[in-house]
Subunit: 90 residues, 2 copies
């Protein structure tokens, strides 16, 4: 799967990412991976649910995985952040 | 699986729920289900990761599912909230 089928969810409104994911599917992507870390994880779940329920009804959740990533902050500290990957398929 | 193997994650510090989940496992639960809605979803993932990485290393993620729930607010409005269920097994 090409790397451009990945949508990283951050702090923008969920609808931005919903449109990004839906656009991938309308361009015939078979799978789109939604990734997020930290507090954006809740928004990533919103994005997957809105895509499935309102925009691409034939999309379904293929896989969900969670993990922990070490991130170095601007002042050199290392913090651990939870992460999620949601794979939607059509 | 008995209903008391479910831990609902809300707005308290993650460590409260980490202790609740770990306690279930030390009482010989084979599975513990972590549930959350809305913004608490990120915290639920934190809880699962902290339990696995720090407290119950033999625990693993058996299943993760997401959904949408309709919730009626105090003023009678119906809102849709994303939800998550993380099943940990030992």
């Amino acid at each position: 799967m090409a790397e451009d089928n990945v949508v990283y969810v951050g702090n923008k409104p969920a609808m931005n990412y919903v449109l990004a994911v839906s656009t991938q599917f309308t361009r015939n992507a078979k799978e789109v991976v939604i990734k997020a870390r930290g507090r954006a994880i809740s928004r990533a779940v919103d994005v997957a649910e809105i895509v499935r329920n309102r925009f691409i009804p034939e999309a379904s959740v293929k896989d969900i995985s969670i993990g922990t990533e070490e991130v170095t902050t601007e002042d050199g500290k290392t913090v651990r952040l939870s992460s999620i990957e949601i794979v939607l398929e059509k």
